[in-house]
Amino acid sequence: MGITLNDVVFVGVSGLTILAALGVVLSRNIIHSALALILAFLGVAVTFFQLGAGFIGLVQILVYAGAISVLIIFAIMLVMNVDAAQTNSPNPSRATQLWGALVALLLVIGLGGAIWFSELMPVLGPLPVADAVGAIAELLLGNYVAAFEAAAVLLLLAVVGAIILAKGVEEE
């Protein structure tokens, strides 16, 4: 099988996503980290579009690249009290950094090797659903309605809790 346009796009986008993710963890300025994080989120959204999950891709752009990034940048602005160039310096302990790199490397090599060398045969199952959004909606308000309600309550409680935590208790 030859190389299709989809393959080229996948390689380009995933390379960009990985570079942006490396930028998040390696940058010494936390503003740069946050901007690289937005790029990584957008790369993941493009990956979702490639997988035929347009709705998840749009939710990713709206929630992650839109709302969560803005929230993170706001928080950074509120808690920054030193020079921006040193806000995100790595742990001064060399040993901790080495341990982190070692654990991450072993994880990637182990899991990646397991994925790469296992035969994942393509499943010749039923055709992909044409109306994915409709199918998601039917599942969400059908079989998974309890989880849907629980998620709604969780989100409401989290936002109310966040407001109380961030506002602080007023001393009488």
């Binding site: 990985i18 994080l37 742990n91 950094q97 982190g100 990646g112 969780l154 936002v159 961030a166």
Partner: protein, 102 residues
């Protein structure tokens, strides 16, 4: 030809970068950002496996939505906690957060 392997590998690399960030960073906001990277990797896995193993339904995409919801809740509470601790400690350095230690 891009298959399931490649998507899973991309997710693994993103997850590994997130793990490194959690270990090697001191700024609490940076650690939250690394956790977001790991959750994104999990979402890629859900959607890729949904497409390649179970194309006939959309349960994987549904679970990705739940992960996004929980991640949004987690990041909002986490940032509120960081702001609240910053007000007392004037720092976002994790090694200064010893409020629960005595």
């Amino acid at each position: 030809m891009i298959g399931l392997n490649h998507y899973l590998l991309l997710a693994t690399i993103l997850f590994g970068i997130g793990v490194y960030g959690v270990f090697a960073k001191r700024n609490a906001v940076a650690i939250l950002m690394s956790i977001e990277l790991m959750l994104n990797a999990v979402n890629i896995n859900f959607v890729a496996i949904n497409k390649f193993i179970q194309p006939g339904n959309t349960v994987g995409q549904l679970f990705a939505i739940f992960v996004i919801v929980v991640a949004a809740a987690e990041v909002s509470v986490g940032l509120a906690l960081i702001i609240s601790i910053y007000r007392q400690k004037k720092s976002v350095n994790l090694s200064d957060f010893n409020l629960m230690k005595w």
